[in-house]
């Protein structure tokens, strides 16, 4: 269970982290896309009765496209104004939430497991759905890692993250790179939604809890660091599960302990575990 939650958090945190690292945008709408994708999946399978595979194939590109469009038309024009960008993402996610509430009403929705049954591993029964989720998460993380490390696009992305101006001088189209970043990030959020939608319930404010966790993870691991996000995600998921299992009466405290872990790490290392402390840009 820790692995599943951790994996999903890791996917979300990587997306959030690369947007922040590249575009310096704190994207509060990140889990909003996660919510949208979960709703899309639910809508296509339960309301329209489309096959699950097709639903996934429609939802993923649609949400990714939405993310890219949102970046291109809403965030890009005001990128110089940091406060405005932050507020824009907040407004965006509120709009998503309200639209979903209007269309689908405030109900708790459930999706059936993508594959039924369970497997016994070392004497412990594991739901096949959890295994599948874990598989998706692992594959996607490896793919992202490969893209970032091996391809030309990955080099461009990392160069932009290091220094956008110099990257621009080296012939990398920074606005296009940032748009691709946003696309990758939203796609990751959508994949996370697909992986986890059958396990979690779907409701219009489902974005807040993961958002808090993602922020905690990203800060814990260090902003802009993919490795940090992955490790942070598993640490936080472990803390969460431990608290829920050891103190079942006070599951509300899981957030408290997760945040406590972050505060401890931050007070020892102000830049997170693997973060780079960005030099203050002095003009």
């Amino acid at each position: 269970m820790t692995l599943v939650t951790g994996g999903v958090y890791a996917l979300l945190a990587i997306g959030f982290s690369i947007i922040f690292g590249n575009a310096r945008v704190i994207n509060m709408a990140h889990t909003g896309f996660f919510m949208l994708a979960a709703y899309g999946l639910w809508y296509f399978t339960r309301s329209l009765g489309i096959d699950t595979i097709w639903a996934i194939l429609i939802t993923l590109p649609a949400v990714t496209l939405l993310g890219i469009l949102a970046y291109r038309f809403l965030i890009n024009p005001i990128r110089e104004h940091l406060a405005a960008v932050l507020l824009m993402t907040v407004a965006l996610v509120l709009a998503f939430q309200e639209l979903m509430t209007t269309f689908f009403k405030f109900h708790y929705r459930l999706l059936p497991n993508l594959i039924p049954g369970f497997t016994e591993i070392l004497g412990v029964r594991v739901l096949n759905q959890h295994l599948l989720t874990l598989g998706i998460v692992a594959v996607v993380i490896v793919i992202v890692w490969l893209i970032l490390a091996k391809t030309k696009l990955g080099i461009a992305l990392r160069a932009t993250a290091q220094d956008a101006e110099i990257a621009n001088l080296m012939g990398i189209s920074v606005p296009r790179t940032l748009m691709i970043t946003m696309g990758i990030a939203t796609a990751l959020a959508a994949v996370a939604a697909v992986a986890v939608a059958p396990i979690w319930t779907i409701y219009p404010t489902m974005w807040t809890a993961p958002l808090v966790m993602v922020l905690v993870i990203v800060v814990l691991g260090g902003l802009g660091s993919v490795k940090g996000s992955i490790i942070g995600a598993f640490i936080i998921a472990l803390v969460e599960e431990l608290v829920t299992n050891l103190l079942p009466s006070s599951s509300y405290l899981s957030t408290v302990f997760a945040i406590l872990a972050m505060v401890i790490v931050l007070s020892v290392r102000p830049g997170g575990l693997f973060g780079v402390i960005f030099e203050e840009e002095r003009l």
Partner: protein, 350 residues
């Protein structure tokens, strides 16, 4: 005295449309009950006054001194809960619980700024965001004392009628806004905090190099922000008649950000404009009616914010000010949009 006030008005306010509008606005607020005193309108305006205090205090802390705080609801919620708890367990009346709640929130401001002082930029924002959520977890965990998700209710009102409440909150709001405006005024001759906050925001290292104890002023910013947000929170608890988990939620923290950035960050009037357009206006249009605005308030607010930001990324208030005022390039005095040369030094404004 009177003559001096008149002179200030004639030469300091009349030629600057922004100041004139601000004064007219406050006068209208004070005589608003003469136009209508429907309790529901009074209630909305009372809440707006408290939100103004809350939003302006966020602007002071995050806009002026640059310590961007994503968890401003912490101060608000702590004050609301502490005044509610003081009433519930000790039976104290509002005149005692409100100042004490405010003081406790101020103390919380001091405590939170210690871990926050080590951090910068986004790390600071995200850390501060965590505190109210932590407290929220504690509130839910100790349900027996705090009432859990239902909160504490049954608090006494601060005044017998809605009208009385309205005037108390309005007066407090006016005073708070004036004080915060003076504290952040970089050109002031008497208080240096405004100038120092600006310096810390623009370049902390340079400020420290100029002999400013930046740590002390950052703590001061947290204290002032916590004090006024706490004041708003304690009053809010008494106006509402109770303290609930909504006052500590992330939504509450974001509300401050939404109002301030919408109106224009680093400007006191921006926060006021933000609250009165996004909260008061929408509530007035949708209050008690089953019409479209009443039902989709958050959606409309979100879309309004998106559209306004696209065209005026600096905020509505700043955009309007730039349209109606012109700053003299030589002496930095603001002039009405109709003037061709500066009213003080005669320099051309083009």
């Amino acid at each position: 005295m009177l003559r001096r006030l008149f002179k200030d008005f004639r030469w300091g306010v009349l030629p600057v449309p922004g100041r004139l509008i601000a004064i007219i606005f406050f006068v209208v607020l004070f005589i608003f009950p003469l136009i209508t005193d429907k309790p529901s309108y009074m209630y909305i305006l009372t809440i707006s006054s408290l939100l103004v205090i809350f939003a302006v205090s966020w602007d002071l802390l995050s806009g002026y001194s640059g310590q961007v705080n994503f968890g401003h609801a912490l101060f608000f919620g702590v004050a609301a809960y502490s005044s509610a708890l003081l009433y519930k367990y000790l039976g104290w009346q509002p005149w005692a619980t409100i100042p004490l709640g405010t003081l406790i929130a101020t103390g919380v401001g001091v405590v939170t700024c210690f871990p926050a002082l080590r951090l910068r930029g986004p790390y600071l924002s995200l850390l501060t965001m965590a505190f109210p959520l932590m407290l929220l977890g504690l509130v839910m965990a100790f349900k027996d004392y705090t009432g859990g998700e239902f909160g504490i209710s049954g608090l006494p009102e601060i005044a017998a009628t809605r009208l009385g409440e309205y005037y108390i909150c309005l007066a407090v709001m006016t005073a708070a806004v004036l004080i915060m405006w003076k504290l952040t005024d970089a050109g002031s001759k008497y208080v240096r905090t405004g100038l120092i906050f600006h310096a810390i925001r623009e370049d902390e290292i340079a400020a420290r190099a100029s002999g400013i104890n930046t740590i002390r002023y950052k703590i001061l910013a947290f204290v002032i922000g916590g004090f006024f947000a706490g004041l708003a929170g304690a009053l809010y608890a008494h106006v509402l008649g109770g303290a609930g988990i909504a006052s500590l939620s992330m939504t509450m923290s974001f509300r401050a950000i939404i109002y301030v950035v919408f109106g224009g960050i680093v400007s006191i009037y921006g926060a006021v404009i933000g609250v009165y357009t996004l909260y008061t206006l929408l509530q007035f249009l949708g209050v008690g009616q089953a019409n479209f605005i009443g039902q989709n308030q958050i959606l409309i607010m979100a879309i309004l914010v998106i559209l306004i930001l696209l065209f005026m990324p600096e905020g509505l208030g700043v955009w309007v000010r730039d349209k109606i005022e012109r700053e003299c390039p030589r002496c930095k005095l603001s002039n009405g949009f109709w003037r061709r040369e500066c009213r003080a030094c005669g320099a051309s404004l083009h």
